[in-house]
Subunit: 192 residues, 2 copies
């Protein structure tokens, strides 16, 4: 096993551990045990515990940034852009389940320099998201509302999927995507 894939294995194992016990609640001994080596051996692949958290959060941040840049360039309605983002959130929740859970729950524990970069990413993502919502409100596709509150509502509904998702529920993914989109766009009340 070469350096790179061993490191990836450690990061993925760390993601599972951090998710379960939290970053500060996880120990290097615990992680090493889950990887199947001694704690000291971890340091042949990584420099520190906080590097693990940084790698996880930055990886997720890149995925979202790339997708946002793609969606921004789409030549489609605001609603379709939002749907594209919703679909991506669902996709990433399924494919990078542990890492996204860790990013959402543990980013507060990033070291100072990683934290700065992460907050910059998050603010930019939210700015872009809000801009799409505002565009939709202005052109009449969306109901009049505070763009920030709309963004928070949509993002938080999507975030919840991280708790809901389990691999054995994979087959229902399409059902969720359709129902969730419907709920966010049309609400839950009948004769709306």
């Amino acid at each position: 096993m070469n350096q790179r894939s061993r490191k990836d294995e450690i990061i993925q194992t760390a993601a599972i551990l951090f998710r379960e016990k939290g970053y500060t609640g996880s120990t290097m001994r615990d992680l090493a045990h889950n990887v199947g080596i001694e704690a000291a051996s971890l340091y042949n692949h990584i420099n520190s515990k906080d590097e693990l958290l940084s790698e996880i959060c930055i990886h997720i941040a890149h995925l979202f940034t790339n997708e946002m840049n793609r969606v921004k360039k789409l030549n489609s309605s605001s609603v379709d852009k939002l749907i594209a983002l919703i679909d991506f959130h669902i996709l990433i929740t399924i494919d990078h389940n542990d890492m996204i859970a860790v990013t959402n729950q543990e980013w507060r524990h990033l070291n100072d320099s990683s934290m700065t970069g992460f907050i910059k990413f998050r603010d930019q993502y939210e700015q872009n998201f809000k801009a799409i919502v505002k565009e939709g409100i202005d052109n009449g596709e969306l109901l009049q509302a505070d763009p920030e509150l709309v963004m928070f509502t949509v993002l938080s509904s999507l975030r919840w999927l991280q708790f809901w998702y389990r691999p054995d529920r994979k087959l229902e993914t399409d059902t969720i995507r359709i129902q969730l989109k419907n709920m966010l766009l049309k609400g839950i009340q009948a004769h709306g």
Copy 2:
């Protein structure tokens, strides 16, 4: 200052600290410093660190359980029951901001016995919430959808308020309540 209010002061200070640094990331020395005493002195008021987390989570659980029991007995439509719950979530997010944030973020670190009780509370609350949603779907007040997914969407949107809320935003509370209710019930898309 008598025992009770001193203990309350410690718990409230712990809530602020746990929220910021997480339960495992917070130290008794740190807490003591914020209270203005030495770490050893804390143990004159509490028995252990995990007692602090338990008290916070159980306190919040009681508030929600009481409200749910009240709402269940209401002689009103399913939608009005949901609105009552939404209003309560918003109210509690404002009045018990730090404690609810800690409960949501740190309940995983409860000790075994408190954890058992907390999960029982949470499951019961979700069962009751789902039952109201199902009732609304069955009687035609709500659109056809999976009750669990509806519950998750509503609860997660409300949970997000904990991050959004800041004391200086207090004046906008009514705006939020109205817009959030609208969004959840009617969705965000125009000519829905």
